[in-house]
């Protein structure tokens, strides 16, 4: 007998053991560890995203403001690239040859983020001409293909701050919303941001089966799992594109803002923030170049003054104090105060008035913007015996002021809106000490100075409230979203001030006189000969940044007003001179659709800042 015969069992055992190990391993691979199943799906299914066209944006009259234009991204699949004529290629796509070579070299380097088997962006947004040239010769460059996507285009280079812009989403954005993938576009500011979910529509996906070389082998389950892209909804804004454009035209040399609202609805007709910029500068490849350029401009064109600048309202604020005075019963339309050229607020301290006005009643004081008169009004409001302390009466005054929509955000559809500032009594307690301040301490508030900060949008809302004789709707920018019923309910909510309608009548009488009667501070911007009854109020706001701001607020016509407007021109001096003319011209443009006062326009355009 063979002495090694027993070794057959050892050999057999090795065989069987190997088989058993393999079966256990297979059991683990195929049944326990499910991760391979997912890998397989990622492997062979390629999700092709169908990008829907972004919604268009119209003005209130159906005029197109923002639309889409096709852009062409040149894509590269590194492994498929063969040797080719880089000289010709670089000419076609209009890039220096070194850049092209460097890009190709880089694209071929395999890293964690760079998968050389998958297409990646080679050059973004080729021009139409470059694309046309390339299209003919693309067959010469295996591994390259062109992917079409859409870019925003602006019909008239207007309302840049309002519209905002669209750009590639960053990584933090992707984390927040899983709808987005790297390279997707998202509204970054303005309406594009606020109405992103309406404008973007819904991406669709086609699931394709691909082989290891990414070659498409057919659709997955014959397209049953595909989803269709849904086109973005068009927006109809409340803007009047012509008015907006005209306002920007008038204010082209200025820093400031003009905000016009339709009083009956709160719809914003125009929201000029000057200086502005061409919104087309911030799309596509241009943004990288243009953004820093705009950012470093000393005029700060990127700053959205209409909703973000805190201006002292100056004399325009007197009308607010007038209304509060009437409501508090410390003032009647016929209350007379005498102006001897200033208001003495303790010791030898005098708050100067522009003229010696003599004895005035309330409408006259509004018409002539008498500082002395409104200092007296403010004193009687704050030092009212009815209230036990200055603190208490001040808080009543503050609440009244804030009922015009001041000191807080509107929570509207305007992006980057700021709240302005109406100082609290606590603030004065901290500055002066508790119970150590009274009306004379804070007398500047009487004429809209001191800590008061109001955005042009809020100012326009004050005029709107006055034009409406006591209420306003939250000012907003969008009238209609396609395929959606009505507008957001928060824009339909009526905000009413706690004042008697008669109080408004008195003030409006003064505002009417200011524009239309001799002796009014804004008499020369009246439009009697055009048949427009405009009511207005000038303001000349002192500020720490140099020359006074020129402020003007107005609404027209006097009955059933259709437009309320507030204009600020930074460091431009007297209120009626610049702001008043701009307001007047814009009101005419909106109500009549005409531009009949060429000399006035020309005068406004001569505006220049001293170096």
């Amino acid at each position: 007998m063979n002495p090694y015969a027993f070794r057959r069992y050892i050999v057999g055992a090795i065989f069987v053991l190997t088989g058993l190990i393999y079966i256990v391993r297979l059991f683990y691979l195929q049944i326990i560890d499910r991760s391979y199943e997912r890998s397989a799906e990622n492997n062979s299914r390629r999700l092709i995203t169908q990008y829907p066209a972004r919604g268009l944006i119209y003005d209130r009259n159906g005029q197109l403001i923002v639309y889409n234009e096709a852009a062409y991204d040149l894509m590269i699949t590194p492994v498929e690239v063969k040797t080719f004529d880089t000289v010709e290629f670089s000419k076609i796509i209009n890039l220096p040859i070194e850049v092209v070579r460097e890009k190709i070299r880089k694209s071929r380097v395999k890293t964690n983020t760079n998968n050389i088997f998958k297409p990646s962006l080679f050059v973004g947004q080729l021009s139409a001409e470059n694309y046309a040239l390339l299209g003919e010769k693309l067959y010469k460059y295996p591994g390259f293909f062109v992917q079409t996507r859409t870019l925003r285009k602006y019909a008239n280079k207007t309302a840049a701050h309002l519209l905002g812009y669209v750009g590639e989403i960053d990584s933090s954005g992707i984390k927040k919303d899983h709808y987005y993938k790297t390279g997707d576009y998202i509204g970054i500011s303005g309406l594009e941001k606020t109405y992103e979910t309406d404008l973007r529509g819904r991406k669709g996906t086609n699931i394709l089966l691909v082989d290891v070389h990414n070659r498409v082998k057919g659709s997955f389950q014959n397209g049953r799992a595909d989803t269709v892209a849904i086109v973005g909804s068009d927006l109809t804004t409340t803007l009047d594109a012509n008015l907006q454009e005209y306002g920007e035209f008038l204010m082209q040399n200025m820093r400031g803002s003009a905000v016009a609202i339709e009083p009956a609805t709160g719809e914003i007709l125009a929201m000029v923030s000057a200086p502005t910029y061409d919104p087309g500068l911030l799309i596509g490849r241009g943004r990288r170049v243009n953004f820093p350029y705009l950012q470093n401009d000393p005029m700060k064109p990127l700053f959205f003054r209409s909703a973000m600048a805190n201006y002292p309202p100056g004399s325009t604020f007197k009308i607010v104090n007038g209304i509060i005075g009437l409501q508090e019963g410390v003032l009647t339309p016929n209350t007379h105060y005498s102006c001897a050229g200033g208001y003495n607020y303790g010791g030898s301290k005098l708050l100067k008035c522009t003229h010696v006005h003599g004895s005035l009643n309330l409408p006259q004081a509004v018409q002539q913007s008498c500082n002395t008169y409104f200092c007296n009004v403010f004193r009687s409001i704050i030092d009212n015996r009815k209230y036990s302390s200055t603190n208490q009466s001040y808080n009543v005054w503050r609440d009244d002021v804030m009922s015009f929509g001041l000191g807080k955000k509107f929570n509207s559809d305007i992006s980057n809106e700021l709240s302005g500032n109406v100082p609290s009594s606590g603030y004065y307690d901290r500055v002066f000490g508790k119970d150590r301040w009274k009306s004379n301490t804070i007398i500047s508030l009487a004429i809209g100075q001191a800590e008061l900060g109001i955005t042009p949008l809020q100012m326009a809302n004050i005029v709107t409230t006055i034009a409406n004789r006591g209420y306003y709707y939250t000012p907003h920018l969008v009238k209609k979203i396609l395929n959606k019923q009505g507008i957001d309910s928060r824009f339909l909510e009526k905000h009413t001030t706690p004042f008697d309608t008669s109080a408004y009548g008195v003030i409006i009488q003064g505002m009417y006189a200011a524009v239309n009667e001799a002796g009014g501070t804004a008499y020369w911007v009246n439009m009697q000969n055009l048949g427009i009854d405009m009511c207005g109020k000038t303001g000349t706001a002192q500020n720490p940044h140099g020359e006074n701001h020129s402020v003007f607020i107005a609404f027209a016509p006097r009955e059933n007003p259709r437009i309320a407007i507030a204009v600020f021109v930074e460091n431009a001096g007297y209120g009626a001179t610049w702001a008043g003319r701009i307001a007047s011209l814009m009101v005419e443009k909106y109500l009549k659709g005409t531009r009949t006062r060429k000399p006035m326009e020309d005068f406004v355009l001569t505006f220049k800042y001293k170096k």
Binding site: P3, Y4, A5, R7, R8, I10, V11, G12, I14, F15, V16, T18, G19, I21, Y22, I23, R25, L26, F27, L29, Q30, I31, D33, S35, Y36, E37, S39, A40, E41, N43, S44, R45, K110, F117, L209, V210, D211, V212, H213, K217
Partner: protein, 475 residues
């Protein structure tokens, strides 16, 4: 004659024949699934791989018939001439063969191509069987061992010149047969360690190798001799010396090459250890230390030769040979894709022709070396378990057949068959499921290709032929 034919058919091992048929047909179906495409839907399409595989299968049946017809004595009598012929073919392929994928492994005869290395396995198995069946030959004798070694070594040299790593390694499988015939187990283990060391030293950084050798050495020593105290002393000495050298290097601001630090500390401590244990009269220490020293030296010289003596193109070939450069997507791509394909099959598989991984070229060599992936993806665990089970059954059956032979020739040949089949199966399936490195050898009876199918058919059916006549006494 009628009598002998009926007895031949009665003695024929139908079980094995049946398993063979099953494997061949399953292979054919899976090749069809692996390369299936819409343009050529018929499994009989000659222009496609599944069509030609069908032709190879039919030709294999003819071969089986021929093998059965040939007289029993032919195999013993012509064992050496067949072996010589296969060596001739291996030389011929080096001269006249066409280079494909960096290897000169294929001989073209008109439109047909054969891979001589595949047939050399059968020839070598016959030659060894012939040699060992001679009177008075014992595997345990050095002379016999060297002769058998030479028989195995000659085709290996010719194959390494091609170079074809897979086929080369298969020849190591004869050691299983030699083990059964009495080769000391220690020799096998030593050979196995050297082979592993050779591979590992080309793939892994030498620092890790030497660290591993030292650790394993101490561990083996303590387990073998149970001298805990001495081992601890020796090991502490090595570690202490390591930190001493490392500190010196650090202080003198030399770039510290850990390899040399470990080597130096181990050599020094090894010598000290040797002296200590010599006086304590602990046995086997010298053998252990010597073995570890030579292991380190072997690994170092392999690595050194590879990087300093071989030329660039030779190294490239070695890399291809060792599977180091086959990865189009970097290390592990093939294996990863292969495991994804098999893993995604789940319990019952995706269904016939429903596999996505194997069909869309994610898995390389899907109809040849990685055919097992198709089984895994489309038939799931049920399929793979059946295939593994069938191979196990076949292997055990071959051992069973070998053991019932009355002649040494048949037994040795039978064990060679089992060894070769086992090696192919273990390496092939092992690499697709990620437990063994990627070595390109076919799965017997399954993989696409005429040469491999025919050579395995010949291999198995010569044994079946011998077995059918086991009652006749072979010399």
């Amino acid at each position: 004659m009628i009598d002998s034919r009926t007895s031949f058919l009665r003695n024929l091992d139908w079980t094995t024949v049946f398993i063979y048929l099953l494997l061949v047909i399953m292979g054919w179906i899976n090749i069809y699934a692996a390369v299936y495409n819409d343009q050529h839907k018929s499994i009989f399409e000659i222009s496609q791989r599944y069509g030609s595989q069908m032709l190879w299968i039919l030709a294999a049946f003819v071969l089986v018939f021929v093998i059965f017809m040939i007289d029993l004595k032919f195999y013993t009598f012509f064992a050496y001439p067949i072996y010589g012929l296969s060596l001739l073919l291996l030389i011929l392929v080096l001269v006249m063969g066409r280079e494909i994928n960096g290897a000169r492994a294929w001989l073209f005869i008109g439109k047909f191509s054969i891979q001589p290395a595949e047939f050399a396995k059968v020839a070598t198995a016959l030659a060894i069987a012939k040699y060992l069946s001679a009177y008075n030959i014992k595997v345990t004798s050095l002379r016999a061992l060297l002769s058998v070694g030479l028989i195995i070594f000659l085709p290996m040299v010719l194959i390494i010149l091609q170079p074809d790593a897979g086929s080369l390694l298969v020849f190591f499988s004869f050691s299983i047969m030699l083990f059964r015939e009495g080769l000391p187990g220690g020799v096998l283990i030593f050979g196995f360690v050297l082979a592993v060391l050779f591979f590992v030293s080309l793939v892994v950084l030498k620092v890790y190798i030497i660290a591993a050798i030292v650790l394993i050495g101490y561990l083996a020593f303590v387990l073998y001799t149970r001298n805990y105290k001495e081992t601890l002393i020796g090991f502490s000495l090595t570690v202490a010396l390591f930190f001493l050298f490392w500190g010196i290097m650090k202080v003198s601001h030399k770039t510290n090459d850990f390899y040399f630090i470990i080597a130096a500390s181990f050599f020094l401590s090894g010598l000290v250890f040797l002296v200590i244990t010599f006086f304590r009269k602990i046995r086997h220490v010298a053998a252990f230390v010597l073995f570890l020293f030579s292991a380190i030296f072997f690994a170092y010289s392999v690595e050194y030769m590879y990087h300093h003596i071989l030329h660039e193109h030779q190294r490239d070939r070695m890399d291809i040979l060792l599977g180091l450069k086959q990865d189009p997507l970097g290390m592990g791509y093939n294996v990863n894709q292969s495991m994804i394909a098999i893993g995604s099959g789940g319990f019952a598989g995706k269904g016939f022709l429903q596999g996505t991984q194997t069909k869309y070229n994610f898995v390389p060599e899907q109809s040849t070396d990685f055919i097992f992936c198709t089984v895994g993806e489309e038939w799931g665990f049920m399929g793979t378990a059946v295939v593994v089970g069938l191979f196990m059954f076949l292997l055990i059956r071959v051992i069973f057949i070998s053991e019932r032979q009355r002649s040494t020739f048949s037994r040795v040949y039978g064990y060679s068959v089992a060894s070769i089949l086992f090696f192919h199966f273990a390496i092939n399936v092992g690499m697709t499921i990620g437990v063994l490195p990627v070595i390109g050898i076919p799965l017997p009876f399954f993989s696409y290709g005429g040469s491999s199918l025919w050579s395995f058919t010949i291999l198995l059916f010569v044994l079946i032929r011998l077995d059918a006549s086991r009652m006749e006494l072979l010399k």
